[in-house]
Symmetry: C3
Subunit: 368 residues, 3 copies
């Protein structure tokens, strides 16, 4: 396996080279379903202001967050009882496709309708507790949003914890961090690390629109849980990336414990990324008892990561761009970057992403 | 009457199209007379820092707010007992024409005088309770500042209320907002709107250096006062713009009530506009009783407008420029823009503004 | 003596002319020795982020403040017990020359060593209670840092006060301000100035890599001390600049009193300058009694200066650049600028600074 090189030179942010790539013909998480209720919700998607709301049928809608009349954000208005979204300044209203359906004061039947008064709309869908958005206006969405993992254990033993964080970094840096093992051993040492060190072998494999690393021989004490039933000594552990925005970390000690942390990323802007951590787990303990433990540990780790990701971003900007060097321990960062860039290039060229192998397969042994 | 188009494409702010036009050979309000006392007052005029002060005779003076020596703002100094303005750093002093008259320490009679030490001055005048300033240095002011309206009712029945607000928007957006009826019916609905709707006819006319709209058939309940003596059912109502910076709204129910709200604008910078609301009124009630009512209503409305104007500005900038669409209900915004642009172009060409008709005359009927 | 002209037109900050010059082949103060202990210290040097720390021998080290791996600042890490500096994210470690000596997890002897993993280092030295840094990487330092003045009075009568301030201005403006007499008479009038005025003669002389002004006939009451033993009526007073960053003000009333205020400047960035005021003094009074008086006066004066320097900077930037005019009372500002520019130009040309006379010698008489 060749030594991974640094991100290539085609980052898209002016003023320096940054690992910013935004493939646009993919589903991205917009918000959890439960947070989209009777009020409009404002987000930015790759720096573009977007307003989310539910129409009269409860279906989630997404429009460019600008009234065509005097440009105030539609998210400063409200959802009208008719299920249309109403601008707060002059009361213009728009349906879920962005068509203007009311201009208060204007006389004449259908007087409101005019192509110059329409707001561009984004395709949306809802799945697994999230509203998803398709960033490219005017293109037909293909495929389904990423499916969260299913568990087959008894319901009382299966739990879920979801928490969110806005990270001051590129989506690429967030993805790499989520799947990076060496910083876990070091930065989160106080939480994770045992006194002893072990040689661990990592096997990297291409996935369909993604890449996976499996760790062999990883001692239990290295992971988030230090004692296991039955005296098991090693975990099964996989780290996975799926285009365009999903990191997934799975731990198993068959048949007792399974933890899958699926991290869904929304690129708010080049250097700000919203992450939802959806942790699903099953264990011999009741899920109810596990939830507070998982939540507390997850939040503690996340805070440390968020601080360093912000420092990384700020410093790269102080120096006018990223200048990374990598070792063979950087198992996924460069592969993620190549997949993101490849997807972006294919969209620009108007072709589907090539299904070529990433040349990322192979094994690495390291010590942790 | 043709459908008004959006602001044309010659906005002067780099990085996008914005309705920013600053005609410079006109009087602008600098500050209320009563606020210019013994201390220098700093403003910006079209982004240029200006210091205002009163000389030994009490006459208001305006200089570029920069000491020619080491560039500190003169407004950080004081008015010297001699009536000159004194820099706070080294004590250099300047007369009302900006000539340097003292450099502490420098020996020799008239040693201070030197053309390289002079500060450019702006022409000023005082009228109707305001200090006015002429933005173009070196050109001879022509004409008088805008005259506030006179009332002929008994003095005890005539009142005045003045309040100020710094708006986060272009001067054009502030002027349009001040004279826009449809948003009044919608945004200020809780204050203004009755349950019933009526057809109202608007008659638009060119004025000398301005434009006016008269509203016919406007029901009382639509305006700021809901009950009128004598059971009158309709207001007389005019909205007026006068170059370069005055909006005026007049309501009358002859012979009982007259309210004239004259709004004087100072363009601090492209996206920040200071507005003084000078409300004069006469009614059967004593002016003293009316003042707190007028003030409370005015301030409540203004706060709502200020919030939306700030949202409008911020959103236009997030999208890299304005992209407005208009209907025939946008009665004055586009005419104001054309007058501002025409004045600015005439100054650049070195010719007086052409006295061509604005093609804005005509009638529109709408419902409110 | 020719009238000094303003700073020439080669200021190096884009977007306007500013007195910004950063000669790079000179020693600059990095921090007081006493503030560099067990934790890394972050500074910026001419806008470049630098981390300072002490190695295993206690020697001060300075590296570019960026880990080559993922670019987080090394100053967010710690000094490892081995005396190397350790990045806080993945634990990479670097020696005092910036060579990578550890990558946790990487297998194989000397696996960490790689030219792509090294951090550029700055030369450092320690003298007179300060750590000094040489801004040009890769060039061999020449000469010694500026030597603080020695006093030969009895130790109990000799005192030192050091205080620091971050000034919002160019290093040039800070240097000029520190050595400018006229503003002292005016701005600090409440502290310094007597009622009476006197003619004072200033004699300006070239120094080796610097310039000096001696004041003749300066009355005691003008300076910081109003009563002197023995009824002395005049001070001896010198103001001095030494390349690249030292201002020095010396007062003497032989043989009783001597005060030397040496101000060491660190150009953090074009418009932010850290200044250490090292005041050494001897007097008939015990040094212990003098210290609080010197400290209180020094801080009071400094606060006034800092406020005006910030106003000067902000206003120059509002106007898009400096536009200074000078008189013969501006005894040192322009000479300092010429020396800074000459040093910078010589470095660019690759030649040693020319030892030409500055044509600054001569006398000026003024009143204060």
């Amino acid at each position: 396996m060749a030594e991974p090189d640094g991100p290539d030179s085609e980052g898209t942010v002016p003023g320096g080279r940054y690992s910013v790539a935004f493939p646009k013909r993919w589903w991205y998480p917009a918000c959890p379903s439960s947070t989209l209720r009777s009020k409009p919700v404002a987000i930015t998607l790759m720096d573009a202001p977007v307003v989310l709301y539910r129409d009269a049928t409860g279906f989630p809608r997404a429009l460019v967050d600008r009234c065509p009349h005097r440009n105030v954000p539609l998210s400063a208005g409200r959802v009208h009882p008719s299920g249309t979204i109403e601008c707060g300044y002059h009361g213009w209203r728009f349906d879920g496709a962005g068509s203007c359906v009311a201009v208060p004061g204007l006389l004449g039947k259908d007087a409101a309708a005019s192509p110059t008064r329409n707001v561009p709309a984004y395709a949306t869908t809802e799945r697994d507790g999230f509203v998803w958005i398709w960033p490219e206006q005017g293109s037909e969405p293909t495929g389904e949003p990423f499916a969260l993992p299913a568990f087959d254990a008894a319901p009382s033993k299966v739990g879920e914890v979801v928490f969110a964080y806005d990270l001051d970094c590129t989506m690429h840096a967030a993805l790499e961090n989520a799947l990076d093992v060496p910083h876990t051993a070091f930065l989160h040492g106080g939480i994770f690390r045992s006194g002893e060190q072990h040689d661990i072998t990592a096997v990297r494999r291409d996935l369909n629109d993604g890449v996976e690393v499996e760790y062999l021989g990883e001692p239990v004490a290295f992971g988030p849980i230090k004692t296991l039933p039955g005296g098991a000594r090693t975990f099964d552990h996989w780290d996975r990336f799926f285009l365009p925005c999903v990191a997934q970390v799975e731990y198993r000690v068959a048949p007792w414990v399974r933890i899958v942390n699926t991290i869904l990323h929304l690129p708010l802007s080049p250097f700000r990324t919203r992450a939802w951590f959806v942790v699903r787990f099953s264990s011999p303990l009741p899920a109810k008892a596990m939830r507070p433990i998982v939540l507390a540990r997850g939040r503690g780790i996340l805070k440390q990561d968020a601080d360093f990701l912000a420092l990384q971003t700020e410093n790269a900007r102080r120096f006018g761009g990223e200048r990374y060097t990598s070792t063979e321990l950087d198992l996924l960062g460069n592969g993620i970057w190549r997949l993101l860039r490849r997807a972006e290039r294919a969209e620009r060229a108007g072709t589907p992403p090539a299904d070529e192998p990433s040349s990322e397969s192979g094994t690495v042994t390291f010590r942790a």
